[in-house]
Amino acid sequence: MKKAKSLFCILFFFLNISAIFADGHAKITISDLWISEAPASASVLVAYVKLKNNTSSPISLTNITSTSFSSIEIHRTVIKNDVATMERFSKLEIPSDSTLKLLPGDYHLMLFNPNKPLSLGDKTELIFYFSNESKILMEAEVKKRNINKSQHNH
């Protein structure tokens, strides 16, 4: 009986663990979040990130907040006829089972009015809100921008 009880306990423990992991296997995975190092006087910074939708239906990024910035917006750099412009998005859809990459020269997060200058290696938190009601807090580190050396990079 005692044996059965402890077996039950162990089983219960593992069930719990797996429940945690199942929950941990989130609907959205956020990775490679970084802020580009900028001059100390910059009033707008930029962040890049990868958003992975692990579900079979589309989920949208609806808002991003941080106590370090007055506001955060989703933008995309578009170059048409040698003229650069930025488009603003109120939300960004991540298609089912796919990863949306916010990368230099493309989609990016505009971080307005940092409340203090951020230098290389500094970390700050951003909160991502999604259309499925989920909310994810992520730490962003200030990193140096990689230089685009040549077209032959793979």
Partner: protein
């Protein structure tokens, strides 16, 4: 005897083929340079008045006898502007030892939000040699009017966006706008293009 003739004719054909291949490669290279060149009628830059990031006057005299690379942008543009500036800085640092008379200029197209102090902090972040220029794009003969593009979207909003030229422009030592390098910018390509453009212009001069 016959094998010798066959071998000789194969050799001759190969040489002929090689020469024509080389010629077409050269033509292709010439075309590539010509495409990014404003030639044979490059625009001559006329006198303009701007202030540099130290507050000093900067005009035609400061671009004379130098190869000048110009990019138009604004400090509230955190994506494409620093990308281009980083690439230009990398090209500049690779070229400056060999070609002493080169300068990199960043012209703000957003004089309402940018100022001389902001420009100073901005350009020196990339390289202390880079020149930041402050001008009102609407001024007669402003560099923006002579070379670039600036268009303002919903300027009443404090977070307004400025559409601006994404190209890097090259002015030769005779103050002629000789070339435009279109994005996406890669430093190795800028270095290669500059060398070819310089060779081409030097030959024509």
């Amino acid at each position: 005897m016959i094998p010798a003739i066959v071998a000789l004719s194969i050799l001759a054909t190969s040489i002929g083929f090689y020469i024509s291949l080389k010629q077409s490669q050269n033509r292709l290279e010439q075309n590539n340079i010509v495409q990014s060149l404003f030639w044979p009628n490059p625009k001559e830059i006329v006198d303009f008045t701007t202030k540099d990031h130290n507050g000093d006057l900067f005009g035609l005299e400061q671009i004379s006898e130098k190869w000048t690379f110009i990019f138009f942008g604004y400090t509230n543009c955190p994506d494409i502007c620093p990308i281009t500036m980083s690439v230009m800085t990398d090209a500049y640092q690779a070229l400056i030892d060999e070609y002493k008379n080169i300068q990199i200029i960043f012209v703000t197209v957003d004089p309402d939000r940018d100022n001389i102090d902001k420009l100073k902090s901005y350009v020196s972040f990339f390289d202390p040699d880079i020149v930041g220029l402050y001008e009102k794009p609407t001024t007669e003969n402003s560099l923006t009017k002579q070379i670039g593009v600036a268009h303002y979207n919903n300027k009443e909003d404090g977070k307004y966006i400025v559409d601006h030229s994404a190209s890097i422009f090259i002015i030769d030592p005779k103050m002629r706008l000789v070339s435009k390098i279109s994005p996406p910018h890669k430093s190795d390509e800028i270095i290669e293009k500059f060398k070819k453009i310089k060779r081409f212009i030097d030959e024509k001069s």
